[in-house]
């Protein structure tokens, strides 16, 4: 069984710790490359500053927290963000000012299935998040490109945004955003509901 042997070697040998289920299925974001440049100044570092990352020959590089996590910040830049996951679970984390919400999810390994499939390039809408009305109104303006992509999101609401296009600001401390539910989540909730009634 040559194939099986090789496969296990590469999974356990070269990439120790990778196969922690928390990472499985979350984006392997390295640099937020925004083709449409929707929100200039959103991220702390531009792709140029970080060097020519995002080339296809880096296809298999994993997310190594070389960028955002290692920069030093004073605690003044720390902002608490809560994500209500599809199953209703609240994920709380400390974000840094200037990070996009996609980067927050990736840098902190938050277990939101399928989040950020296109790695922040405005091409997938898997980073769709729902805000409360007041917060939504305070966010920076939405670009046409973001609206175009949002139009393909499931569970679209009037207060929907794409997480890769929204940057954490100081005033957002305590922010709560909701991950929209898909079909399987709704079923899972029903299941849980049934079980808790039993």
């Amino acid at each position: 069984m040559k194939e099986t042997g090789e496969r296990e070697a590469s999974a356990t040998g070269e990439c120790p710790g990778l196969w922690d289920d928390g990472q499985l299925g979350s984006a392997t974001l390295r640099v937020t490359r925004q083709k449409a440049q929707p929100l200039p100044g959103c991220c702390l570092l531009s792709a140029q500053e970080l060097g020519p990352l995002g080339n296809w020959d880096l296809l298999y590089l994993r997310w190594t927290p070389l960028s955002f996590a290692n920069l030093s910040y004073s605690s003044e830049n720390q902002v608490t963000v809560h994500f209500i996951n599809r199953d209703g679970e609240r994920l709380t984390t400390t974000a840094k000012e200037g990070e996009s919400l996609l980067e927050v999810v990736v840098n902190h390994n938050l277990a939101i299935d399928g989040f950020g499939a296109c790695e922040g390039t405005l091409a997938c809408s898997t980073c769709h998040l729902i805000f409360d009305k007041d917060t939504f109104q305070k966010l920076d303006a939405i670009s046409d490109e973001e609206l175009d992509m949002l139009d393909l999101a499931y569970g679209l609401t009037d207060t929907s945004r794409l997480g890769c296009q929204v940057c954490v600001k100081k005033w957002m401390d305590g922010l709560t955003v909701r991950v929209p539910m898909d079909v399987s989540d709704m079923r899972r909730q029903l299941e849980v509901g049934k079980q808790s009634k039993q």
């Binding site: 496969r7 299925g25 609206l147």
Partner: protein
């Protein structure tokens, strides 16, 4: 697998703590549906083992062979798939055609559950006279040709005419229009194949009509792709304002996506006069494209010598009903549109895989409920073969998670036969061996991938796809 239980859906936690045998799951097809189904099972079941079988020596389905070469950002999703494939609990066996090299019943005997995610490999046909004339191509074949799909490498489409007609108003139609009209220097930096780039360099096509049988409110394409077309350098949009009269008020109460899409078409149609002035001033774009509505293809007209297509006769239609469900009814009037190239982009179509698997040939899907194949316990389906050939990657992701959820529930509910005699790949390997089939592993694919990337580098492309399966197999020493 420490820690897995904590992240599993609530209902599964209890199950995971018991010492049950590892369930072995087989997934057929390595497109988004196959990979997302595998990902969800692996992530939410800390012990499951998943093997993915793929017909081609290379993975990723339509992400590699469908998604347009000038949309590299969409292909980032393969990074996530690669993570899944590199898991110690996931196997990849390329170069294995299920239904031919190994049957579905054989897989069912080797695995506790089998998920069919083999997509839609054929296309709908118009069923009109002249459809098979030279000069008429299915969108599927054309897309496969420029994206390096092995079976379409001999297509060699004739691009020697000035006007192309694309039948259908979906995103695939827009992809093709964009590829036909894009400036070469934009395509040159993509992973489009060298041979199709060479053919496009000699292309005479400078006008593309996209023709739909219904109206502007029924177009199937989405706004991002339309805007891209409108902004295409060197190509001018030709929309007839008359087609959009009264639509502004008609979409007032429509959903936001439909409303914004329609408004963009109206805006573009009304902008035309300004551009015409620019054209008069000599700044005309040499290429143009446009949308034609309420025209249903009736016959592909042969040239005088009968040897190739020279145009399409369209039945004009009126719409009966409103919104998405409006029907196109022929008015009795017809119109002939001249063109040398016809691309039929009216949708893909799934095919039955194995007599043992039920198939609804009317709808072109495997009959199922939430991904459980009707009447066959332990058999599941996801993606286009489950839902029909529409939906973007996120749609496919959601329905694959849904199928995986059904499978996990069945595992939990004790519905599946978990007998240890179902050894998984061990059993299948001997079958394949006896039939002379050598599977391609994921690390084999990574060698092919590296070779493609190296070849592309010289030309400044992300990769130069290898289009001959025999050559792929040579690279990995098969």
């Amino acid at each position: 697998m420490a820690g897995a239980g904590g992240r599993a859906p609530l209902g599964l936690r209890r199950w995971l703590s018991s010492a049950a045998p590892a369930p072995r799951v087989c997934v057929v097809g390595s497109g988004p549906a196959g990979f997302y189904t595998a990902q969800h099972i692996l992530k939410h079941h800390g012990g499951a083992l998943v093997d993915i079988y793929e017909k081609l020596p290379v993975p990723f389905g339509l992400v590699r062979f469908g998604v347009a070469p000038d949309h590299p950002e969409v292909k980032n999703v393969t990074n996530t798939f690669t993570q899944t494939a590199r898991s110690g609990r996931c196997g990849f066996y390329g170069n294995v055609t299920v239904g031919r090299d190994v049957t579905v019943p054989e897989l069912q005997r080797a695995y506790h559950a089998v998920v069919l995610s083999y997509g839609a490999e054929d296309n709908r046909v118009l069923g009109i006279p002249g459809e098979n004339l030279p000069g008429v191509y299915s969108a599927r074949a054309f897309v496969g040709w420029y994206n390096g799909l092995p079976e379409n490498q001999d297509l060699k489409p004739d691009l020697s005419c000035e006007t192309a007609l694309i039948l259908g108003h979906g995103n695939v139609a827009l992809d093709i229009a964009r590829i036909l009209l894009s400036p070469l220097q934009l395509l040159r930096k993509t992973d489009i194949t060298d041979s199709s780039l060479a053919a496009l360099a000699c292309s005479k096509v400078k006008r593309v009509w996209l023709v739909g049988r219904r109206g502007p409110l029924q177009v199937a394409f989405t706004i991002k792709e339309l805007r891209e077309m409108i902004n295409l350098p060197g190509a001018r949009a030709v929309l007839d304002p008359a087609d959009f009269t009264g639509l502004e008020s008609a979409v007032k109460d429509a959903s936001r996506p439909r409303k914004r899409l329609t408004e963009l078409m109206i805006k573009t149609a009304l902008e035309k006069p300004v551009e015409m002035q620019a054209a008069a001033a000599g700044a005309a774009a040499p290429r143009e494209w446009g949308l034609k509505f309420q025209r249903s293809p009736q016959e592909v007209l042969p040239s005088a010598d009968g040897r190739r297509a020279r145009g399409v006769r369209m039945a004009l239609t009126r719409l009966e009903g409103l919104g998405d469900s409006a029907k196109a009814i022929p008015t009795g009037d017809v119109e002939e549109l001249e063109c040398g190239l016809v691309l039929s982009s009216i949708g893909y179509r799934s095919l039955p895989l194995d007599p043992a698997v039920p198939f609804d040939s009317q709808r072109g899907v495997i009959p199922n409920s939430s991904g459980r194949v009707e009447g066959v316990p332990g058999l599941y389906c996801s993606g286009w073969v489950k839902r029909g050939p529409t939906g973007v990657i996120i749609t496919t992701m959601n329905d694959s998670f849904d199928t995986a959820q059904s499978l996990l529930e069945d595992l939990q509910g004790g519905v599946l036969d978990l007998s240890p005699s179902r050894e998984g790949f061990g059993l299948v390997e001997s079958i394949l061996h006896s039939r002379g089939v050598r599977p391609v592993s994921f690390s084999d694919w990574e060698k092919i991938d590296a070779a493609e990337v190296a070849r592309g580098k010289a030309a400044g492309k992300p990769r130069e796809k290898i289009v001959d399966p025999a050559e792929m197999l040579r690279i990995i020493g098969h």
